[in-house]
Symmetry: D2
Subunit: 335 residues, 4 copies
């Protein structure tokens, strides 16, 4: 059993002091492999969008979106290693979540880079009641009387390490360092593998969602502050060029790029190479196997890069041990 | 109970006489709404790729790929109506299926339009044994000793009607007329809705797969001839701009375009508008609801256009009747 | 000197009788290689949008956009040959041209495939006075007092043959058969080379523009009916996979696809292969040469596929004869 | 006349000490608006690729590509201002330039993000002799006897400031901060306008090319060290969301994104808004004007984002003063 650390985000902190990037920030803590961290994360709006009477453009500052918890310096982590983070708990901190339509942001609107001359969609805020006992998320329409209870399915939209090539990237962007991938697969029970680019890796995470669709269509899920528990570990001498996930049911690869077919291509080339290695079959045989077996949900279609996930059912991979058995090890973590 | 018609594809026919397009071909039969058709479909290679010792480039002619069964003229179908086709049976006709790596075709290679200067990937053929009793599909690696039993999950990759604007489109392309969408959702129990563009709609289908991944990575699923039973019906005065599917569990929209984000956008705009109409909520409220609820698998990432599917769980839509109840009606078809 | 034929489009014809596709239409004339054709072409709106007080949505029918003149059956043309068409004259027929903002059409708006939830841009019509003596095109702002004289630079936006694979394509789409490429390079003095896909090739052309930008930003150039003179010839046993152009100054390749980088890739792979062949250098040496020499204007960023042109200055290619000297031959045509 | 400063890059420096990012680096100098800087820049390989017998993979380190000269802290520059840099001299420092085919890098190959399973293209190096007297660049084929003299047309591929949102970006990427746009328009006589994101703006530049095509097809132009002279100035209280250029002949906007149509969209939306403002016409009238007037060359189709340039001929804009007359002012700089 590893060390146990508690780390609470300061919700009343000066917003300019929070962490909004991967890379470029001093670590808040140094941890050893195997450490369990209980940490709070702020919601993507830093808590300021908390009523249907507030609009993002009124209360948010584009410099202060998607604050992250961390970064944590993982002792011993070096370029060429892989960090593993397993999600033990992701629990909404409060009884509400929030979503919004933000001008020129989202999957079904023009944006600053998919630039058009049309007017923005109307700005609007939705508050969701979170019923933690019955695990429900309550949708209420804003412009008519209509409501719906949806299953709670908490996850972290943003998990990542410092990027390569000395880059510092906004927590709004996903990429090979992880970041804002916004996949609902990042729920309790999942292990996320991230290639280490700098000494200490510098893990951060945040952007909790009580639930979201595949694609996070309008760009804003049911955003909420989280009480999360993670365990962080290190796989020495194993490179992971793009983030991977593992659950009891699936091995998963991800790609984040534009156009979306490039995200697809990255995730599937990674899966082909991974299957080739794990099953000791040729690249062409692995390409063929992947063609008949994987599931391929879109993760986000709204961020600075799009993320596509490729999922291989472990049911097809009897007796195969991936990532040196790290997932099996971490799921047994006690704290 | 509707009329019952049997229609057998001639496997020994002159290949040049088969149907390789949507539109541009005389109907083989005229049917009334409600007609049940038992039909055979040829595999995408017209049956000529039937051994690992044959290569696509040796036995296939690019003019004769993906032959379709049909077209069927649906009496009473006019521009502005919607054709519904429900899949009652999709059963592999033989005990084998085939896949292949085809030069400059597929999702992880350059192609004639994603043109590059690199050499083609190696050409190779895989034969799958189909165990119809135990519903298994047998993968065997070509370049090492490795095999795997996969669940049989038969489907039709290509289902469509004549396109709009007098166009005639190759059965290799998907679009608003349906066509080569290659989604595994087109299995038994699904109802597919297609907007009618010309008198009689001119439904064709084919491209049976014993199974495939989401994305059909290398471009070739486990291709096989099928014995299928469909029932075809007509919804008058209802436009369906892009193909939709319905099962007992999901309402689904599709988009087929490039880049892949455009396929995503089409499918999700269609779903937002559909939810707005069915639930009598505003467009913005529907956009918000879709953002928290849908599943979004990639269907194909290898064809002339990519296809993305958007799936709304019916569990969230109590008492909602879509497409005038056509799916409920057709699933009760007896024959 | 070839045969001389006059062919006048009937401006008062029933619109439904005009030609709106490449392929799928019976030829209007059979011609021999070397034939000079004087032909009129209608504007892209068939002449019905002729006042700032009319809007496209009021006077146009989406089925009747971009009528073409032709198709001409070129005797002796077979699959594997190349048709050459040289533009001797492209002269606006009347003293006006027209442009418009059309809802959900154009390069800076969402469209049916780049689908978004935003409202359409305002619909509006601009009439341009054409001063044929001084070769000027008169822009007048609609919403303020501002005018500008632009140089007349007449061209045909749409030139093509019947597509391969039995397809019939709308005159709104460009592709390997040519079609709606909308490049300003298609002006007097240019020779366009098109691969032959069906017996007789079936050349059509139209969509005259008094001028346009590179990209045809809003999707509608200064549209006008034209009096044009072309000479059509045949290069036997030479394949041209994608349309090429030649002028006294440039050899040009084109690519039409989405996303736009695919159009770029096609045009540049074609140019690399062409240079490799003409200069008898390796593919890698040709790739290197192209990297330091070509000009690459966007042709259209608004149609069903985007078109990118790659231009190699002939000044760098002393003594090189391309396409069997066809351009040199055709520019000497007398009539 | 402004201050004059000389700044020489140390070609023998420890490579790890050079500057490879925009943002994230301490300024080397603080300058006042109007300062003339004579500076040397290293080539994109830091000088180590200097023979056809060397290959990039042997002598280059991916962490040390495209070193920049700077950053220069511009006194008084704040968020909301625009930095202007005018190129007075860009002169190749040595008598040679270099290009190369780099595995999985370039416009006509798969890359780490346009990921495919194909083998890399052959790696190869080309050395160009630079004839500074006759202003010629000498291409020599590697795999056959063929050579060609091309006009020298020196330019800087990379010019930029620190990015917004606290990001630090590799000098291999272009974006709204400028960076690796690789447009041949960045030649002597051009003024480049860059929006200021951080105090002092932090201008850097480098990546000299003796010449390149539009698109920089293989990703490597005729790379060379440069002796350059620039003058840097400041426009207070004027935002420039995306880099602009101005010459005596053109006003230019740029967009850098993926897919390439997004780069097109950004550049053209910027041009429409700029014309609307300069000519005092409505957005729709400006959209229409741009549609008939601009030139649109691709700048790069090989970098982390693609760059498209939109050029408005000043001949159409009589008496219009753009960017507060800064270009006219800077072109008169003496030193």
């Amino acid at each position: 059993m590893g060390e146990f650390i508690e780390f609470e985000s300061d919700e009343d902190a000066d917003r300019s002091k929070l962490v909004y990037t991967f890379g470029g920030v001093e670590p808040v803590l140094s941890i050893r492999p195997g450490t369990v961290i209980r940490a709070t994360t702020l919601d993507a709006f830093g808590g300021v969008l908390n009523s249907i009477d507030k609009l993002p453009s009124q209360v948010c500052d584009s410099r202060y979106l998607n604050p992250q918890t961390g970064p944590f310096f993982l002792e011993g982590a070096e370029l060429g290693d892989t960090l593993a983070v397993h999600f033990i708990q992701i629990e909404p901190r409060y009884k509400w979540g929030v979503s919004a339509s933000i001008p020129f942001f989202g999957g079904l609107t023009s944006t600053p880079e998919t630039a058009m001359l049309q007017e923005a969609l109307p700005e609007m805020t939705w508050i969701y009641e979170l019923d933690k006992v019955n695990r429900l998320v309550r949708y209420e329409a804003r412009e008519s009387k209509f409501g719906l209870d949806l299953p709670m399915d908490p996850m972290h939209g943003t998990v990542g390490v410092a990027p390569p090539l000395r880059e510092v990237r906004s927590s709004l962007a996903p990429g090979c360092w992880g970041g804002n991938m916004d996949t609902p697969e990042m729920r309790v029970g999942a292990t996320c593998y991230l290639g280490v680019n700098v000494e200490g890796a510098l893990l951060s995470f945040g952007d909790g969602h009580a639930r979201q669709s595949e694609g996070e269509t309008c760009g804003v899920a049911v955003e909420c502050a989280m009480d999360s528990v993670i365990v962080v570990d290190l796989i020495k001498h194993m490179q992971t060029p793009w983030p991977r996930l593992e659950t009891d049911e699936y091995l998963m690869t991800t790609g984040s790029s534009k156009p979306m077919e490039d995200a697809f291509r990255v995730a599937h080339v990674e899966m082909v190479r991974w299957m080739s290695e794990l099953l000791e079959i040729s690249t062409m045989d692995a390409y063929q196997l992947v063609t008949q077996t994987v599931l391929t949900p879109v993760a986000n279609a709204c961020d600075k890069a799009y993320t596509v996930v490729c999922k291989m059912p472990k049911a097809f991979l009897k007796n195969v041990v991936a990532m040196k058995g790290m997932h099996e090890k971490l799921k047994k973590t006690t704290w």
